[in-house]
């Protein structure tokens, strides 16, 4: 059975993401790999096709602002309580990136189909929505069983790469994602899985009955790197809350191109929560 390789740091993971790759990322506060994101920006990646899990936030906004992104497929991109994602909105309004609008359960269905290698999955509702109108890749079919009602079906999502940050891994390569079950689907659906973690312990977590249900087992993971605090400034439940001041600072700075550039320059220079 394959085991993930441990890399020295997030930069080594970023190096494994080719330009133009489709990259699945978690919704905010679900293990957003912010340290890895900075390394992707630092490495100057281009043309990434981001896929939300099913939404996205500061991470994708930063990647867009840094010029790494060609398209975003998401049910929503925002800074949550801090309002709109400024670089995302500006890029869509400016026609600089392609936006592929989705709706949350459709994206979940896509990942679940992807995880099962099923070609499609059905989703309730969506009729009448312009999301459906603009998704040439979604279809309305007739339930093959009585009462033969119409149903929206969406194709499997199988991203080239899934990336996320988790609180804990063990030396065997098992990663604890806790309640964020969609990370399991996103990982299993992906061609490659790159994970940063706060901590690596020797104990085989698969043998720990309490932690096992929240594990993504080692054979789904390609590379792991230690990046303590790698989700900062987003929250990483249950380990730490968001850094509200830092997120406020980002939301304010990113309102303008210049402000964003200044923020990014600062973020790329000293690095991480220690500053």
């Amino acid at each position: 059975m394959s085991s993930p390789r441990f890399e020295a740091n997030a930069a080594a993971l970023a190096a494994l993401i080719p330009d133009g790759a489709s990259v699945a990322v978690p919704s905010d506060n679900s293990g957003v790999p912010m340290a890895l994101t900075l390394e992707i920006i630092r490495a100057g990646k281009r043309g990434l096709r981001m896929i939300g899990g099913p939404t996205a936030g500061i991470q994708v906004d930063m990647l867009i602002g840094a010029g790494c992104v060609a398209s975003v497929e998401a049910a929503g991109v925002s800074l949550g309580p801090r309002g709109l994602a400024p670089r995302f909105c500006a890029a869509v309004e400016g026609g600089e990136i392609k936006i592929i609008d989705s709706t949350c359960p459709a994206t979940h269905a896509g990942y679940i189909a992807g995880e099962k290698r099923l070609p499609f999955m059905a989703v309730h509702g969506i009729f009448g929505s312009d999301v459906l109108t603009h998704r040439a890749d979604w279809k309305i079919i007739t339930n093959p069983f009585p009462p033969h009602q119409p149903l929206v079906v969406v194709p499997a999502i199988n991203p080239d790469i899934s990336i996320f940050h988790a609180p804990l891994a063990d030396e065997h390569g098992n990663v604890w994602v806790g309640k964020r079950r969609e990370l399991k689907s996103m990982a299993r659906a992906a061609g490659k899985v790159l994970v940063t973690v706060d901590k690596i312990v020797p104990e085989d977590l698969a043998g720990n009955a309490e932690l096992a249900p929240g594990l993504l087992a080692s054979h789904y993971i390609d590379r792991i790197a230690l990046a303590a605090g790698g989700a900062w400034p987003t929250a990483l439940p249950p380990v730490h809350p968001e850094d509200g001041a830092e997120l406020d600072a980002y939301a304010a700075a990113a309102q303008t191109r210049e402000g964003f550039d200044r923020y990014l320059h600062r973020a790329l220079t000293p690095r991480g929560p220690a500053q």
């Binding site: 949550g80 989705s102 709706t103 979940h108 679940i112 603009h134 009602q149 079950r181």
Partner: protein
């Protein structure tokens, strides 16, 4: 922070927000489980108020980890909704039209909007699943309550045979309350809030709606409701929405 009351319109005995919270909470009467989404302090407050009135009611508040019943990640809420277990959800947006379509995506053309917003989130699916959907558009003008939204993020107007466990039922604004009739695909004015009028509502509404013989006035928050809002509701709200709790629900 020097004047926490700044900018808050008040009547003598209740604030505008308290009226909206109390009115919204009454719309949740037959539910037991509500989810309050991101950026939704008034819906969260209404849910918390309803909890105070009805011990069988529970509201999961986004942003309060102590108030989530979900243990299986992001997909679980949508499965719950499909199971008919999600009774109440409050949706906002940038536009709503006379067929209860809402727009969360953008103003102008698509995809390159003149003004882009966050996106549809779960609305396109939940419009068929949440039993009692309240559309909450506090800003009530012809740019918001429009004849036809620029982008239908979510619409309840689908095939009759489609699986459905719910639909939009209410539209609450700063001026009035409408009820939505899915069969007729139209809103009916239920009541205008104190200080507002039918004529004013017509003037500021971009879609046509039905009116009953006699236009009611929205009931003002009772003393009991106001005390609950200013006490336990405010306390519970101070965790996910500290600013809102402090500024808008300050004890009078």
């Amino acid at each position: 922070m020097s004047n926490p009351m700044a900018g808050i319109a008040r009547s003598d005995t209740y604030s505008k927000e308290e009226l909206l919270i109390a009115t919204m909470a009454r719309l949740f009467g037959d539910g037991t489980f509500m989810t309050a989404g991101v950026n939704s302090p008034i819906p969260a407050a209404a849910g918390l108020l309803r909890e105070q009135v009805d011990p069988g009611f529970y509201v999961a508040v986004h942003g309060d980890p102590g108030r989530t019943p979900f243990v299986d990640g992001g997909a679980e809420a949508f499965d719950m909704a499909a199971q008919g277990r999600l009774d109440v959800f409050v949706f906002g947006g940038v536009q709503v039209d006379g067929k209860a379509n809402i727009n969360l995506v953008g103003i102008g053309p698509y995809p390159q909007a003149k003004k882009r917003f966050a996106g549809t989130f779960g609305a396109a699916s939940l419009f068929y699943l949440v039993r009692n959907i309240v559309l909450f558009f506090p800003k009530h003008d012809r740019r918001t309550l429009v004849e036809a939204v620029d982008f239908k993020s979510a619409s309840a107007i689908g095939p009759k045979e489609a699986y459905r466990t719910g639909s939009p039922r209410w539209l609450l604004s700063e001026r009035c309350l409408f009820r939505f009739d899915l069969e007729k695909e139209r809103f009916t004015l239920v009541s205008v809030h104190p200080g507002h009028s039918l004529e004013e509502v017509r003037e500021h509404t971009g879609f046509s709606f039905d009116v009953t013989d006699r236009v009611e006035m929205t009931a003002v928050p009772t003393t009991a409701e106001r005390e609950l809002i200013r006490g336990p509701v405010r306390d519970a709200l101070s965790k996910p929405y500290p600013d809102f709790a402090r500024k808008l629900l300050a004890r009078q």
